[in-house]
Symmetry: C2
Subunit: 223 residues, 2 copies
């Protein structure tokens, strides 16, 4: 493998617990403060999402998050916008099915940054892997209050089937909380991504810690 160009980020990333820091779901609370507490609680990855903010406000938030997370060595992933990911030197970008295609994002971000894709079926997940995605955001696993969606939840069975057929990391998302997180990891996901389970909690730190403990135990039990 000598001389083979390796990506900078994936090797170091722990997929265990990803906070999707969604500006709209913060409901007026300070999102940076939430991220800070979640980091203390043990998130291993943060995705920043702000679908309704103007780009300049999104970038300012991203720069603040990037500065905080850099110190903690937690990778930051920007939702939807490769341009903003580049502008804040994020670890990568997460693209939904309605966002830019992977090829367009790759052209901007190059090979050294992560590109994750949302997938809600084996077909989408396979295609994302074939197209060169660095990881899959797979869901919804369960029904979720965060996104108004018509997608059928995959259930643990769907997660198990899809994970067994993919070689890239899978972050399971959608309705995951501390009661079911363990089963999701047991079904084969490399980690979980949550919005409400952390952003909806009164005590961000405590909620994160409980989630982390749930996924960490099951991570060990899985092998």
């Amino acid at each position: 493998m000598r001389g083979k160009r390796r990506k900078r980020f994936p090797l170091r990333i722990s997929w265990t617990l990803c906070l999707v820091a969604d500006a709209e779901s913060a409901r007026g609370r300070d999102l940076i403060q939430i991220i800070r507490q979640a980091v203390e609680g043990g998130v291993t990855l943060v995705q920043l999402r702000a679908k309704k903010l103007p780009a300049s406000a999104f970038l300012n938030l991203a720069l603040e998050a990037a500065s905080l997370l850099r110190k903690k060595k937690i990778p930051l992933i920007i939702n939807d916008r490769p341009d903003i990911a580049l502008a804040c030197s994020a670890a990568g970008v997460h693209l939904g099915q309605e966002d830019l295609p992977l090829s367009a994002a790759r052209r901007i971000l190059g090979k050294d940054r992560l590109i994750g894709l949302s997938a809600s079926s084996l077909k989408e997940a396979h295609r994302a892997q074939k197209d060169g995605a660095d990881y899959i955001g797979l869901g919804p696993v369960f029904s979720t209050p965060t996104k108004a969606t018509t997608l059928t939840p995959l259930g643990l069975r769907g997660v198990r089937e899809i994970c067994s057929r993919l070689s890239i990391p899978v972050l399971a998302i959608g309705g995951i909380d501390r009661r079911n997180a363990r089963q999701v990891i047991a079904a084969g996901a490399d980690g979980i991504a949550v919005v409400s389970a952390i952003l909806g909690a009164r005590d961000i730190f405590k909620a994160t810690r409980k989630l982390k403990s749930a996924v960490s135990i099951s991570g060990a039990a899985r092998r």
Copy 2:
């Protein structure tokens, strides 16, 4: 000047008449069809704007517009998103005051693509020029039905003052129609940019031709 790197686009651009093809203002009509008719009518530049579309839909529209405009040798400018501008090989990007800062866009687009900035005062226009903008979108010149804005219209006097102090091209925008277009060019603008004056017309081709004739006559009269 030998060896000095020149930009690919600005040298060829005619600033006379820019259509701001705003997806939301098309009100259900086929935007590509509108652009086609406006090109036949004589627009010299098209800016594509779709603030509310998901990125994939915006990109699809941009690819269609780019393909049409390439054949006609009309430059395409993408509003707000350098990533989409790059993905559709547009001539450049137009950034409003709430969009990404110029430096972030330049990093993505390099020196060979245009970056235009909106400015509504001499101060903003000066700063944009200093920061390396390739042109200014200056306005609102008059009050406009397209954008809900609290900005005070600059009037012809404002346009005259600001244009006299800038060295980069100025596209005047805001409430410009075929009755006042001539005066705007006489006040020093290199061209006009319109939304409603073309998109609001029943006959796109005819409306464009009348605007073009208004700005062309005054363009000649200015010198």
